[in-house]
């Protein structure tokens, strides 16, 4: 069965520091991969997506993610975080050609300290 693992439930970084949020997936082939962000009491916003091709994908607000087939990973990165980046980040996968069902990880809460 397909699954997504986000090993860090909570990450705390200082403003201006670099960030990496980890995501590992389990699927026999290459899935579609996504990162979503959820601000308090709000819906999910798509940060970036990977379908195929260049393993490094750029997203909104200077986020990027790198796909690694060998490691079954799709880590999210940002060079310099801002306090407004504090939110919950979800990694998700879907199966190409399927119904568009997203399988989510448990999420990582990011707290950016001033």
């Amino acid at each position: 069965a397909q699954s997504v693992t986000q090993p860090d439930a909570r990450v705390t970084v200082s403003e201006g520091a670099s960030l990496q949020l980890r995501c590992k997936y389990s699927y026999s082939a290459t899935p579609y991969l996504f990162w979503y962000v959820q601000y308090p009491r709000q819906g999910l916003q798509l940060l970036l997506k990977y379908y195929s091709g260049d393993p490094v994908v750029q997203g909104v607000n200077s986020f990027e993610a790198e796909f690694s087939k060998s490691n079954s990973s799709f880590h999210l990165q940002k060079a310099s975080v801002h306090w407004s980046d504090s939110a919950v980040y979800f990694c998700a996968l879907s199966i190409p050609g399927n119904t568009g069902k997203l399988i989510f990880g448990l999420g990582t809460t990011l707290q950016v300290q001033p």
Binding site: Q42, L46, K49, A92, G97, N98, G100, K101
Partner: protein
């Protein structure tokens, strides 16, 4: 541009009472539609999906039902709420089973 509107924003309902949540997607014909549920502090789980009017597939059994009465409308309902129904309900759409876009959600508290 496409927009997705969910209603209501929040509900407080009694155990055993009925529930109806809705969403409307504008700017896209024949979207794929989804209902997701997020328990408080938890991850998201797909409940239903629909690829066309009148057809809804259940993914998880939670004593809820869904309907798609119009191309742009998706309704989630139940006749009797349980405490376990509390959480955050998100309607979502996709143009083609790739990217999925979410509404702002409805927060449901069952008391």
């Amino acid at each position: 541009a496409q927009t997705i509107h969910q209603w209501p924003v929040a509900e407080i309902k009694a155990v055993g009472s009925p529930l109806s949540l809705g969403c409307t997607i504008k700017g896209k014909s024949s979207p794929n539609l989804y209902w997701y549920w997020q328990a408080t502090g938890g991850t998201l789980q797909q409940l239903f999906y629909s690829i066309t009017v009148g057809q809804v597939e259940s993914v998880v059994q939670l004593n809820l039902s869904a309907s798609r009465p119009k191309d742009d409308q998706f309704i989630l309902s139940t006749e009797k709420l349980l405490l376990s129904h509390s959480g955050f309900y998100l309607c979502a759409w996709s143009p083609d089973n790739t990217e999925v876009f979410f509404g702002k959600g409805t927060r449901l508290t069952v008391v």
